[in-house]
């Protein structure tokens, strides 16, 4: 005979895991179903639901046949941004983490405190401040450039906008990566290094064959968090350029926004793009999570 108690005893994890599973189901399954259904309709924001019609896979056809001229460009720059931002943040973050770890200065806690700042600043306001700094006419950056080097840069213009957004992203998240890796470096045991030094290993060899493997789980973690968040990037780009000039900075999430927000209100079409974004995010995160778990198991 089936008994609840017996079932729970055999599945001991349930009482720990079930609440979270239920919560996440409610919070994510219903919106996801809405998204899928909406992506097959011509629904617009503010319509009665009765006004919406099913249009089959028209919304997807529009994306993949190039009728939505901005779509592939959005995919391309989103992926490019993810790769470039993650790579630089990881490299720079690693460098700063090493500097911090090797430094014996009494001011080190201060430096760590400063690195928390970009995370603590409210992004919606921080991005506005950056917009002020970037302004080509009355911004601080150009003022400095103009007066020291005699030239100025159109930071939010066609050619530079992507890199300006990247710069803000680097400012905001490099310290985050650096702090993670610094924490990892600090807690590494000294013995392997001492042994390697006795064996005459160069510092590059120690880095390559000791530090990196020992930190691999953390490196993957930083990679995962940064890659996915860079893929989803919204606030900064929205405040700085709204996707422009032209469609120079219309990342996927901004494309979703441009289609779905009140100006257009094309919720149906936007849902199709959101589905694509969702799939890309899931593929990337699944891949990285697997690698991360494997790295963790190797370590244990």
């Amino acid at each position: 005979m089936f008994s609840v108690k017996g079932f729970l005893q055999r599945n001991g994890h349930l009482k720990y895991v079930a609440p979270v599973m239920c919560l996440m189901m409610v919070l994510s399954i219903i919106p996801t179903i809405f998204l899928i259904v909406a992506s097959f309709t011509n629904y617009q924001l503010g319509w009665d639901f009765s006004r919406a019609k099913f249009v089959g896979i028209d919304n997807y056809i529009r994306l993949f046949t190039g009728a939505d001229t901005a779509f592939w460009h959005s995919v391309l720059i989103s992926v490019a941004f993810m790769v470039v931002a993650t790579a630089i943040e990881l490299a720079l973050g690693f460098w700063i983490a090493t500097l911090l770890n090797n430094s014996e200065s009494k001011l080190k806690p201060l430096a760590v405190g400063i690195m928390i700042l970009p995370l603590a600043m409210t992004p919606s306001i921080a991005a506005q401040v950056w917009k002020l700094i970037f302004n080509s006419e009355y911004g601080l950056l150009n003022y400095i450039l103009q007066n020291t080097f005699g030239f100025s840069v159109t930071w939010l213009g066609q050619d530079m906008a992507f890199w300006s957004i990247l710069l803000v992203d680097l400012w905001q998240f490099t310290p985050f990566v650096a702090l993670i890796l610094y924490a990892g470096l600090r807690s590494m045991p000294a013995e392997p290094y001492e042994a390697a030094a006795i064996d005459g290993a160069t510092s590059w060899q120690m880095f390559r064959f000791l530090t990196i493997p020992m930190l691999s789980k953390l490196i993957y973690l930083a990679l995962l968090l940064r890659a996915v968040d860079a893929l989803k990037l919204f606030d900064t780009a929205f405040v700085l350029t709204q996707g422009g000039p032209g469609n120079a900075t219309e990342f996927l999430s901004l494309h979703v926004f441009r289609l779905a927000n009140a100006q257009n209100g094309l919720v149906g079409r936007a849902s199709a793009v959101a589905m694509v974004l969702l799939v890309i995010v899931m593929v990337v995160s699944r891949f990285l999570i697997k690698r991360q778990r494997r790295a963790a198991e190797v370590m244990l």
């Binding site: 979270v20 919070l27 500097l99 405190g113 992004p123 002020l132 400012w171 807690s187 959101a274 589905m275």
Partner: protein, 277 residues
Amino acid sequence: MSNVTTHKKVRATGRGVLLLIFSLGFLFPFIWMLLVSLRNRVDILDPGNIFAPLTLINYETLFAAGDIFPYFINSAIIAVVNTVFSLVVGTFAAYGFARYNWKKREDRAFFILSQRFLPAMAVVIPFFLMATFVHLLDTVWLLAICYTLFNVPFTVWMMRGFIEDIPFELEEAAFVDGCNRMQTLRQVVFPLVLPGMVATAIFCIINSWNEFVFANFLSVVHAKTVPTSVMMYLSVSGVKWGEMTATGVLAAIPVLVFAVSVQKHMIRGMTFGAVKG
């Protein structure tokens, strides 16, 4: 003085200088925000005027109008409620994932973590409709619930790592002493993962304190949070830079104070349980 020590000194100085440069780079937008918040409007658009008179007028305007206080109160309630809830529920789940083994475990873990990666833009419209349906629209509770969408997965992920790093033998010893699982959790596991929880808490707080998209769409008037105050300052007649930056400074202070005061725990916790310490 020997060559080696000179060399070492040079390198140490070099590292110091590099760190200084990086720190200044990370610091400067905050400093600029602070400066803008202390200036008159005419001077804000003139970066060259470094010696522009400083003034507290923007803060005075902010306090006199008083509109911003409810925003701070809402943000604080949401951050605290959500963080406490996420930590409790998340840590339990993390324990389940760390200490039990079942067939679909990794799939379930991925499902939970994947919630953290849902693009807010994609789910905010259905959320609005759901919230209307259950009459939670424009309440702080709704936002506190929504933020579990990214804070609970984050907590589960972080805490799982920390718990897996605690040798199971410690728990076994407690079992032998007659503790049941809950007692073991309370007396053995929690004390050991506390630094990890502190680190997790900081990020949960930062995430909910700064979240913008949900807060913007799911609040009407009663549940507005600090990040959405930007919308108040983007006026047709020009951005109210002074008040906006003043709000930005005030919003950063509590997070900074908290983060710096637990800096030691935070750094230790940021290993995400990955390295035994």
